[in-house]
Each structure stands twice: as C-alpha cells, then as structure tokens.
Symmetry: D2
Subunit: 502 residues, 4 copies
C-alpha cells in the first residue's frame, strides 16, 4: 500500500513538510482518501508568524502601487491556472466544476478590489484645523494578521482576506480548512510567482491547535474568521481577550420571501440554485422559502417539485450534474438526520433525496438528492438550525409582516431576499429587516467585491464586515498626525543663510 501524498505548509516562500500529525483528505465523490494533510503544531504556526513578522517592515514600506501590481499579476495567473485550481476544489470539496469556477471568479473579484489599494488607502487631509496647523490621517498596516477559513469555499473565502490584507501592507498567516487545503495552497504559490515576497503570505494547515496559537500570539495583530457561529463566537471572545481585533463570521439560515405578486417561475428558478447549489453548503444559501399566502405556497411547491425532478446528482467532475456529493461522510449522516427529524417534527417531506441512486463507480461517494419540506414552522429544529445541506423548507405566512417577524426572530441575520415587483414592499422589507445582506429578486445577495460582506445578529461578531471598504478598515490602523511648524523666524531670518562655512 502506497503512502498518500502529503499536503504541507507554505512558510517563508517554501513548502515545508515537517514531521507531525496528519489527517486524511478525502475525495467526497468516491469516498477515498487521496492525500494526507499536515496539522501544524505550535512550533510550526510560530514559524509562520515569525516569517510574516520578518517580512513586514520591507513590505509595509513598499509603495501601495507596487503591492497592488502583485495583485494584478496574481489575477492573470489565476485565470491561466483556473482549471487546475477548480479540479482541486472539486476533488476535495465535491462541488461541480462550474460551481468551483464561480467561486474562483468571485475570489478573483476580491483580488481586483485589492489591486485598487492606492485609491483605497487614501487618508483624509485637513488644512488649517487651527491657524497654520494641518492634520491628516494615514491608514497604516497593522503588521501580522491571520485568517481562518472554512471548507465550503476553499478558494474564495481566503481570497476575501489575504489579498486585501497584504495590499494594505500587512503580512499574513492563513489557516485554511484541513478538509480541502490544496486549492488554497496552489493559489498561495501562484501569489509568490506573481511577485509576492516570501513571508508576506504564509499558509499553515491544521485544526484547533493552530487556531489557538494564532489567537494567543502577541505578534498577530488581527484575525479574520469564517465558520460556524459557535466557533465564531469562541474565536471572537478568545481573540478579544488577548486584546486583538477580531472579525468572526458565523452561521446563517437565510429566508427567501415570495410575495403573491412575484414572478413565481422566476422566483422558483432563482431559489432552486440558491437552495441546492453546492449542496446548500454555503452561508448565503437559501434553506427557507417563506411563501406569503397559501396560493403562493401551493404554486411554489408545485414548481419546485417539477424542477427538482429534473436535477442530476453525481460527481462534480461531470459538469452535467447539478449537485455533487456532500463534503464528508459525517456531514452526510448529519444532514440525513435532519431530514428524518423534519419528518418527525411534522413537516411535510415533499421530496426525499435520501434515496438518490449512485452513479456507477461512485457508490461510496456522499451523495444526497434534493430534499423539499412543506409546512415547516419556526419551532422546528429544521427551521432553527443551519443544516448546510440540500434541504429546502417552505414556510407559509399570511402577510409580509408575519414573514418579517419570523426572520427577525431567528438567531441568524446573514442574508435574505424578497421576490416581488412592488416597490413599496421591497423598500419596507429592505429598510426594516434585521439582516445584513438583502436581495430584491436576487436570491443570493452576496455583495460584490467593492461593497462589503457581513451579516447581523449572531452571523457576525465584530463591527466591520469582510472585504470591500470594511475590509480595508479592518486591515489598517488609523494614525492621525497634527502638524504645525515653528515660527517663520528661520525662514525669514539671517540664520537661514547657513553659517559662513558654506
């Protein structure tokens, strides 16, 4: 039996593979372990931090324009290597290739935004805050910053963080998910090729041990996290207790509201992708559809059933498939458990995806077909919990206000959307709903890269969102200078003509 290839760390510009604990990386399409990823211990994480610390002074002083150009170069390289990156995503995460390409594309948009650094880093200058006194602010780099990212977007979420952080002059230690580390690592190596000096970006693979080092080490100035809410809260509390600036993005349970006046066919088509795309393993997925009025609900259910019947489930490498496998066996079991629980709680299981047939050669993959519940109610676990699987629940409400009250009562406030053509309904909804990212006839209202990403309530801990303007603010530290010059005597006087020796 042959040893699995080892996935190492990137520190100081080199891939290193020290001895130590490892964990298998599985291909969810086949259920086979194909690689083994190193799990960094304290010493390795500290080496990464030290590397970043050493690279900081020179990188901080590199003009923003030059830092930005590395980002432009990287963008080109990612476009050239897109297929290779996406194949790695699919092989470790399971999502279909077109989905991987969509993720990479979104990540590239964040690199584009990072390449605006000269514009984004402008401070504010005030002449004459007092007589002949000027004051201005500079948004300076923090030093070493860290990022901890989840399995579901191994390319995109890291690209929300480090390109902007390094474009702002910081150096970075990234800990991606240990379940699908390879695409992340490839992108980091391409960044070196794009001109990023060694040590500016370091990648350590690992688990909680590695995260705890990053949270405690005094050299790490700030940390961005994306993951589940309990871990996000742990990260926020722990990092804050160590005096750091932390932004921690957690879970979600996004509701789509369908109004009676909506274009129902268009709404259903949009929700299909939002509910089942990437098997629902997205923090901006739509696992709940609130239909306003029973007639609306009936029409929605009928159309959804029809659409689901056309779906194909199978390995992500086959682009004819709509859904690939779930990410792990354990996650598969957990999602199936929620389906059973929904039935037990009294929701109507309209479509049961648990009996999906495996394609030949993929019998051990973690495939689950689309599941659809009707008559889901707020008290149920399948309403409350983030399932992160291909399970869509339809909730019936009698008015927009009832739908909004449900949403506002939910623990999470990441994203939501409304389908309507009525301007007033849309404005009332977007203005009042207690959710951070709101779509109007847009099912996945992920803000574009030049705006910022951030939920409300227990979907985000911290005051600044990810990427965009908030990202710039998070990755910089304000310095305010107030300046006056002493009396004009020197300028005017004889003393200004230097001593006779000249």
């Amino acid at each position: 039996m042959q040893a699995l290839p080892i996935v190492g760390h990137l520190i100081g510009g080199e891939i290193i593979t020290p001895d130590g604990r490892t964990q298998n990386v599985y291909n969810p399409a086949t259920g086979k372990a194909e690689k083994s990823v190193l799990l960094a211990d304290q010493r390795t994480v500290e080496a990464a931090i030290a590397s970043a610390q050493a690279a900081f002074p020179a990188w901080r002083n590199t003009p923003p324009l030059k830092r930005a150009r590395v980002m432009s170069n990287l963008k080109q390289l990612l476009e050239q290597h897109a297929d290779e990156i996406c194949r790695l995503i699919t092989a470790e995460h399971g999502k279909v290739l077109s989905d991987a390409m969509g993720e990479l594309q979104r990540g590239i948009e964040n690199i584009e935004y990072a390449s605006y650094a000269p514009q984004l880093l402008k401070g504010e200058h005030s002449r004459n805050v007092g007589p002949a006194i000027d004051s201005w602010s500079e948004m300076q780099a923090l030093g070493v910053v860290a990022g901890v990212t989840p399995f579901n977007f191994p390319a995109m979420v890291p690209l929300w963080m480090w390109p902007l952080a390094v474009a702002c002059g910081n150096t970075f230690v990234l800990k991606p998910s240990e379940r699908d580390p390879s695409s992340t690592l490839l992108i980091a190596r391409l960044a070196l090729q794009a001109g990023l000096p060694p040590g500016v970006l370091n990648v350590v693979n690992g688990g909680k041990e590695a995260v705890d080092v990053l949270l405690a080490d005094t050299r790490v100035q700030a940390l961005s996290f994306v993951g589940s809410t309990p871990i996000a809260q742990y990260v926020y509390a722990t990092g804050s207790a160590h005096g750091k600036r932390i932004q921690a993005l957690g879970g979600a349970k996004n509701h789509a509201v369908v109004m009676p006046d909506a274009d129902i066919a268009q709404a259903v088509s949009a929700v299909m992708g939002a509910a089942y795309g990437s098997c629902g393993e997205r923090c901006m997925a739509i696992p709940l559809l609130v239909a306003v009025g029973d007639a609306t609900a009936d029409a929605v259910i009928a159309l959804l059933k029809e659409e689901i019947s056309k779906m194909r489930v199978g390995p992500g490498t086959d682009s004819g498939n709509d859904m690939g496998p779930l990410v792990t066996r354990q996650h598969y079991d957990k999602v199936c458990g929620y389906v059973a629980q929904g039935v037990a709680e009294g929701a109507t299981l309209v479509v049961d995806g648990r009996n999906v047939a495996a394609q030949p050669g993929y019998e051990n993959g973690y495939y689950l077909g689309a599941c659809l519940f009707d008559r889901v109610k707020p008290g149920m676990k399948i309403y409350q919990d983030e399932i992160f699987g291909p399970v869509l629940g339809v909730v019936r409400a009698q008015s927009l206000q009832e739908a909004m009250d449900m949403i506002d009562a939910h623990e999470y406030g990441n994203g939501t959307c409304i389908f309507t053509r009525d301007g007033e309904a849309a404005r009332y909804f977007t203005d009042n709903i207690q959710v951070g990212m709101v779509g109007v006839n847009v099912p996945l209202p992920v803000p574009v890269a030049y705006h910022s990403f951030g939920g409300w309530k227990r979907s985000l801990f911290g005051d600044l969102g990810a990427y965009g303007p908030d990202g710039v603010r998070f990755y910089t530290r304000r310095k305010t200078i107030t300046q006056r010059w002493p009396s004009a005597g020197v300028r005017e006087g004889a003393a200004f003509s230097f001593p006779s020796a000249q």
Copy 2:
C-alpha cells in the same frame, strides 16, 4: 447635620432617585463632600436600557436631518449654559475653570460633527453591478448603545460618544464617572431641552455593577469605554465574550521628543501645558520628555525649572491659578508615592511639588505642585506607569532613533510628539512611530472632531477609534442591498393596465 443633595439618574426623560446605594462626591479644592451620587443597581440599569429600547424605533426612523438639528440646538444651549457647566466640572473634578471651558469647547466640536449626520450617513450606491442589477449600502443604526466614561473629562468624553451615536439613529445609555457626574447630567438635561425625545439618551450613575449589566444585557448592541488599560481590557474581553461590538480606550504614557534643532523655548512652553495642565490627569498629557542630546536636555531642564517657578496652584475657581487640586485624596497619595519612588529609583528630582503651600481656606484640598525629574530611564516605574499627575520626567537620548525605540518599546501608544524644524526628521518620526496620534511641534495632538481619536498598542482595544469617521462606523451597522427587478413584461404588457374592477 444636613443630608447631602442627591445626584440621580436620567431615564426616559426624567431624573429619578430610587432608593439604593450612594457614594459621596467631594470638592477636591476643599476636600469636603458636597453631594451624594446614587449607584445604580441592575434593575435601574435595565430600566435605562428598556427606556432606550422603547425609544429606538421612532428615533431610528426620524430623518437624519432632524436628528442633526437637535445637535445644533444643543450646541447653542451648551454655549448659553457654559458657565454653569464649567462650575460643576471644577467643583467636582478640581480643574481650573479655563481648563473646564477648554474641555467643554472640545465637546461642543463633537456635537458640531454629529450635526453633519446627513452627510456622514451616506451609503455607497453602485449602478449595474451586473446587468440591470444595482447594489447599495446603508449605514443603519444599531439600536441601544452604551458609553462608560472617566472622571477626567466629565463633559468632553461623554460628548465624544452619545451625540454621534444618537445622530446616527441609536439610543443611548451613558454611565459617567461617579466622582464628577453633575456636569454630565446637566448636559443630558439640556439635550432634552434641545429636542431629544425622552429615552433617546439615558444617564445612569454607578460603578462596576452598572457596567457589568451594560456588558451583559443582550439589548445593548455596542459599548464605548474610556478609562485605564486594565479596565479597558476587561471591558473589551467581557463585552466581546457577550458577542457585542466594543471599543475600549485605555491608558497612555506620552513622550515628547525634543530635537536639537527645535525652538527650545517654544517646545518647553508647549510641554509645560501638556505636562501640568489639568494636573496631568489627561490621557493625552505629556509626562515624558525625551531630549535628544545632553545639550538639549540641559537647556530644556533649565527652562522648565524657570517656568515651573512661576506656576500658581490653588482652587480651580480662581482663574489666576495654573493648576487646581488632584481629583481625590487617594489619587493624591498615589501620585506622591510615585514621586518618592522616582527618587528611590535614582531619577533626579529637580523640582519637588509635594511641599506646595495651601491657600487659606483650602487646607484640605488635594494640592500637589509641579514635579520635575531629570534622568528618568525606561526601566523605572515612573517611566512605565501612567501616573496621571503633575509629574514630568526628562529622559536623555543620544539620537532620534534611540528615542523612537524607547517609545515603541513602551506598553502604550496613545499620543506622542516631536519638536523639530526638520522636515525629514518629522516625516521619519510620524511614519514609523508605533503611536496612534502624533504631533509635530504640537504637544497634545488630539485629533479635531472631524478626524478620529485612537491610540495604538494597549491604549485602544478594538478596531475603530472614537468620534469622527471611525465613530460613525462604530455606531452604524452596514446593510447591503442587491436589487434587480423582474422582467419588463409587466411594464410593457397589457397586464399593466390593471383589471377593470379598479
């Protein structure tokens, strides 16, 4: 013996004085207890939070222009009542009246900034983030936010916080220092008079118990704190553990660097005010002067001695005095202890203010004269600790780099300044120093109200500074809307002519 007047709370637009624990408020000029302040228990703080919560929906929906106008009205009222406010400050804090007036003036500038709310709250709008898809951000109010403020600026520091917070649409619970609460409370009452609806601003007096309620109550969305570093860190960690957004400003030990080419007389004159003004009880005071070169140090010491000899110490109500008393007996003892320790540690006590003579009728006041040390060294406690008293230490360095290394090695990074006429020295200093607020020939580089206040290192926990642009960001929550409208069919088609029944 007559009961002392009671200082109550302001909740829901009314001054309330429930039964409960109290604490004496002393006049530091005489050492006499003159008032008794209520210390809020959990129930009282929760009543304040409930009042703020109730006032939120209507206030949030009040157009920013109208909220801003309340701030303009308040500005006028503060100008009309300035004498009364300043007399309260002096009677409870001790600082001389002109100093109190300076503090109030700075606070009014923050109100002016808050009155720019319509401009400050503009979000970003992007047309065509995709085909016929628009996206924009709104900076919405958080809900109930809280502030906890220190004794040293009872008027100004609260005005850093709540005017901007309420101008942004939030409602507020303020817990000022229990040592000098009266001016804070008067200003709050004037805000009501200016048109602030009851419940939008609530003031509770109290101590740690009250703070802990504010940190834990889930209705409080965010909290701003100014105080000492240990408490700031406690507040940051505790509030963060409760999932809140927190900004916590802590201690300082600000160095002034005097270069050999500086206008020494101007530098010394500036440092005099920065070191001894308000008895050094300011987080932007200058307790350390780093002289570059022994000749510079000698010249500086000589001039300082001369200036100190002209100083007058006495009650703050007499505007002929340069310094009033320290804030409390305990604080007086603590500062005197530091002076003794400095001598013990080997620093040269050039001027000893401990023997200052009390003015007749003020024998029990907490008066300490200006103290001046030469040859203070980084290892000493009087170098490391924030003394918060009229104690200036001169440190001798042989180069600017040595001076900067000292500053960067210090725990705090609030403010600093350099005295020089050399452009290159100033730029090198301001660019590289690890301090958040930097002056060039400006001894107290407190940013003006339309910039933001914030130290680095252990002087600030959080990612956003106080007031100015950072304050706006802290007191608002980003909501990003992405909008497309369904097909033009309705607009173009016959269906748009509504059914005949209408």
Copy 3:
C-alpha cells in the same frame, strides 16, 4: 408725491446708495410700485469686487471650523427673522407666505450643509506614492466668486451659492434679481450680524450691465448663474471666453409620467402642488403631465378639474390662498398669451384661469387662475416653451417608452418624475431618462442640500451642479503637493547637533 424707499447695495459691510439709475420694485399683489432699487454701474460692481478681493486673504486663512460657525449662527438668525424675510419675499415676488417659508427653509438647509465645511474640505492623502514620497490634495479657495440669481426664489437660490462659497474660504459678490431684492439683502445683513467679516459677502443690485462686469473682471474667479436658458448660455459662453469657471443653470419643462398602476389620487394631489405652487414660477415645477393610457388620462383630468375647482387665488399675505399673483404685469401678459396660443394650437383648454376674479382691494394685482390643457402634443409651443405660469398640460401616451422618448427629445432635462408602484418601471425610467433630477412618486425631486442640483441637456451649462458635493468642488481649486525630504543625513549626523555657537 413721496419718493419711494431706495434699495441699495451691500459693499464692505455697509449699505450704500450711490447716485445712479434705479428701477421700481412692484408689489404684484397690488400692482403698486413700493420701492426703487439701484442698478449698479461698472464702478459700483468693481467696488464690490475690490471689497471681496481685500477680504479674501484673511478669510481664506480663517480655519474652516470658524467659517462654518458663522453659518451656524446665520441659521439661527434666519430662523429668528423668518417672518420678516418671508413678508419681504411675498411683498416683492407675490408667492403666498407658506410658500415663502418653504423656500426659506430649503435655503437654511443649504446653510446647514455649508456648516459641514471642515468635513467637506478634506483632501486626500497618500503615503508612499513612491519610496518615502507622500502626496496629498488640498481643496483651496478660489478667491472672489460671484453669483447671479433669479426672481423666483429670492431667498433660496442665493443661499444655494454664497454660504457654501464662503464656507469654502472664498469671498463673494452676489447680484440678485432686481425685481425682488429686499429679502436677499436682509439675509446678507444678517450674515454680517452672524459674524461674517465685512467684504466677505457683497450684494450689488442691477441688471445686465452689472452681470457683464462680473463676467469680464479678471479678479472674479468663478460665477454661478441661475436663470433662463438663453441667458445661461450667454453667461456660460461669455464667462468662459474670459477664462473663468462658470456654472449656468437654465430653464426647464418638467414632465410627470403617470402610469396606469399609480395611485392616481396621490399622483394628482402631488402634481397639483408641483404645477400650480408659486404659480408655476419654479424651474422644478411640473407643467406637463404625461398620462400613460387614455383611461389614466381621463381619470387624471377628472381629478385635476375637481382639485382646481377648490383652489383660491389672491394676495400671498393671506395664507388661505393657494396661489398669489404672477411676478409682473409683463409676465402676466406673456402667460396669458401662451394660454391663447395653446387653444389656437388645438389643445383642449379644460380649465381657463384667465377669468379669475380679483379680491377686493387687489384689482390691480397680477392674478391668473390655474389653467389646465388636455391633449397637449410635442409640436405645440405650449409643450416646448417654459411658460413659468400656472398652466398644466396633459399629454397622452400609450406606453412608458413613448413618454420617455418625448422627454428625451425635449430641449430641457432638468427634472422629471414617474408615478408607479412597479419597481421595474421605476428603475427603467430612472436609469435611462436623459434628465438630471428624477423623482419616483415624488413630484418635485429637488435634491436635498447634501446632494447636488443639476439638470441635463440645455438646463445646465458646466460640469458641476449647484450646492452639495458639486458645489464644494465648484468653489474650490485643487492643489496637489508631492513631498519627499532630503537624505536622513541631517537627522542622523553630527550636523544636526547645531554648531557650538548656539
């Protein structure tokens, strides 16, 4: 027979009344001449320019915060003197008092915006545009700038201009309309009282001769104009030929589009005020209503007739009246001529206001009742020309696209609005229409003071709109500084310890 009171000029802080040409100022409610206004000759205008020029250096160097405070003071004074100002407006312009109050209120909002000057004047600062090279921009004052304003808003339009201009550090020469100069002049005197130094704002009354001096004098750096399109174009061409920066706002013919799905009653109610308020003498009035669909048109006409029948016309001093007189006898004749022409051109005169009965004592006033045409068509003069009177024409279109094509084909592009509840229709309209200010269910979409005012096509000559962000840009001149400091040798070397002689 008694001489009429003389309306003079305000130059250098003094009202002056030099000998020279005059013109009567009439009360349009009675038709009686009540004052005589001086018409400045070249010498007087040059004196005003010289006064402004002399005041410039000190005013430019006054910190923006102090300049802003004068604006805050002025706001208070205008609120205190509102009645007096509005009575002057009504006495000379004719509009009803409540209308005058609305105008003044809008003007005050511009003063509020001007009081944000410290925020608005921030430049952009870039650290390290190259190695150790910084660059920043300052938005500096221009010097002497001028404004020429129309009769229809004697308080508001001047307040669009000079408060922002002087808050930016400029000094100003204002030439208001010679038909109703008194309220303008009173406001200018209150500005002096608010603390504006003499010479910073100068007011000269006059006509074309005065304007031509302002356009040609090399000391005048920029000029803002609001008036009719032919004069606007003359001003733009002439001032530009003299090398100046000019913004010249001209005429308008604003269309309101009413869609079949609109709340017709609400739309008609809104259009009533927009069409007939201030007798239609507004550049943002709605003289054309485009009804989409004949059913819509019929419903609109029916409701308009009913609403018009309730209107009262009479002197503006009686707040029970809906409309006051037109501004002059000549203008009255001109508007009546247009009504006759509309009939001749074939439009249907549904309501004829020409026979309105005068109230007793006001028989010589210039009263014209509301006129309503149906079936107005693009080829007609009453469609093409800006009538500036209480004449509303209804145009019938069969689709939104037809309505938009009409609007886009019109010479003017100042304002427009659509009444609908459909989000897609609103977005399509606002996105594509060739008009600068667009309302959705808002009949007079005059941007608020913290946005900017400006039409498209022949409604604005120049690239920057009035007031708001564009106003700031117009009244400032960019200066960009690029700075590096010579080698660190001086800082590091012995030479920095100055020669022993010191």
Copy 4:
C-alpha cells in the same frame, strides 16, 4: 521615389485611409520624412463621432466591472508591446527610449486607475431624506466625449483621457498630435485587442479643422484638451460657446526654488532632469530655477555647469544619450531664437548648447545642447514665455517671499517646487503659492494617477483637472433620484393577493 507609408484613422474598430489631405511625419533624429499622416476632414470626424454614438448605448450598459477588465487587459498588452510603442515614440518625437518608457509607464498607471471604475463610480445613497423617502446619486456616462492631445507625450496624455472616459461608460473620439500619431494609434489598436468593442474608441488624425468639428458637433458632450495656452483658451471659449463641458490644459513656466538650506547637490541633480529631460518639451519641465541668496545661486550655477558638461546629445534610439533632438525644425529654430533673445535681453549665457556637434549619420537632426542662463529677470521674454526647449534660466532672489511673489505674478501656475529641509518654509510655500502642483524636494510634482493633474491661472481652463478623481467627475454626469413609494395599502391589503385568476 517611393511613397511614404500612410498613417490612417481608427473608426468603428477599423483603420481607414480615405483620400484627402496629408502631412509628413518626420524623424527628428534624422530630419527625414518617414510617414505621411492623413488629416481628417469634417466628414471623417463626423464618421468617428457617429461610430462612437452608435457604440454608446451598449457600452453604457456594460457593467463597470467588465469595462474595468478591458483596462486590465490593455495594461498587460501595453507591457508586452512596450518596446514597439517606445520605438514609435522615439522615431516620431525624438525623445530617448528610456524617456519614452517613462512616459508609457505613467500612461499605464492611468489605465490602472481606470480599472478601479467599480469603486470610482459609486454614488451617494441617503436613506430617509424625509420620512420613507430615499435619495441617491448616480454618476452616469455622458455619451460621446473627445480628446485633443499634444505632440510631447503621444502615449501618456491620450492615456490620461480615454481609458478613464471609457471606463466611466463613455465612447471616445481622440485626435492626437499629427506630428507623432503612430504610438497613439498602436495603443488604440491594442485596446481593441484587449476587448474594447469597436466604436468605443476612435482615433482621427488631423489639425484645426478636425478640432473645430469636435468643438461644434452637438453629439460631442465634452472635450479634454492639452496644449498651449492660446489654443487652450480658444478651445475652452469655443467649446463652451457650443454649450459643452470643456477642460483645457495650457502652458507652463515652472519655477524651482532652491533655499540656502537645501541639499544643493541633490537639488541640482533633480533640476538637471527636470530642465533638460525630453529637451524640456514638457509642461511640467523646470525652465526656471530661483536661487534664494547669491551664495546659493553661485553654488547652483557651478554645479549645473559641471553636470551639463557631462551630458550627451544624440539620437533617442541610443540610450547612452541624455537628450535627443527637438521635435521639428521649426521648433528648433524658435528655441534657438529664444537663446539669442536671452543674450540680447542681458541675461548671462553660461552654457550655450547651440554649437552641439551632430553625431555621424544624424547631421540633419534637430539637436540642441543644454543652454544655461544666469541672472534671468522677470521682465525678460525668456522669463515670461514657455520656450519648451533645453533652456534653463537661473533667477536670483534675496528671500523666499521674493521668489514666491515672482511665481505668483507669472501668467502660468502649472507646477513649482521648493528645495529645502525646513518644514516651515515648505508649508508656507505649498500653502500660499498660486500654483496647482507643488513639489517639496520633488522637481516634477506630476500627481500620481490616483490624484489629479491641474494647474492654476492660465495653465488650466475649466474647473476639473485631468485624470484621477477630477477625471472621473469630468467624464460623468450626476443624476439624482428621489424616491418614495405609495402607501402600504397594496402591500397590506387584500388587493395584493392578486385576482382569483391566478
């Protein structure tokens, strides 16, 4: 004898070479005509305008992100084709290749800035300008805009204009200098290759006839011009008379002030490049050095003489040369005439470059060596006129104020710089000098691409500078939308549940 290659126009994505007038394009290094450029007549220019007009609707609706990506692509292509482009510049303009590369690099930076379009085009959004009323601004494209550019930067100056204009959604007609059109045209062809749709950028070669069409045609919304002041003023006046928005950048005569405390060697080294680089044919060249104090002047002159003696003059293709030829024979004669006039006026000709020896094979090139005058005085023509040749004049002043008074009295106010190490002198100079672009120890303070370029006085006609933030504002038209939605009745009521037919 062989016909010269024809340089045609680029219209609608095709190079066209219609019959018509032509003009020779010379290689200034050899004096030989090497190409023949077509001079567009009215018909050709109108075809270009029509092509741009036709391309506008689709391009305007292309999301800014996609437009920006074309710019990123173009950047890559220019880097790949840099040698080819620079050889064309040198062959037609004469400047040395390294200089051409510098010019191209600056142009590429403007393309980088244009690629920030999604960020740059953000409008301002205000929630609740009134109750439930929102307002926002969109910066929309103008339509067809034009640019007219000078011979001295055939790559860079066009790249100041059209990339930003098209990134903002406009379509463009460019008329480059007819003396060196080939590099401009090559870049335009590369833009097509980068993905710019045909018709979005059109290039017409020609002279005044072509410009006059662009100024008069009503389809052209705006025009940017860079050239000499008399033509700039003609363009500004003429375009404005046609109601267009115009920015016209004119001539310069930039002074460098050298203070006694400056690092003289560094200052002289910097001025050498600024005075003689590209033969002084730059609007940001330094043709005047004001030395403060005679000792300074003597030291400066001595060093300049020494540096000049080391210079090499010859064909630009040889990168060992410091200066290439002047652009044309006529220009050579004009510059020589100024040298003679300087002598006649009484200035001291310290170095006479008129006798420079031609390198073998280049005897007919237009070579002029560096000329240096001492004791130039404000009254002289060589002080007042923009010579645009390798002629540096030293002026002697006795104080900084005297130097500044000279600068402020000069017709032009494009750029200036000061050499000093004194912070106060630098601040006094930058604050008060009447010049738009100011350097501190930076001889050519051309703002970086993310700031804006613009002189004061007669160096710029218009209110907005070139490129950077001002460029964005120039190439966009503000549209302000004010929106409210009709009553919630529809949302709340039964009617919202659509008719039973559904």
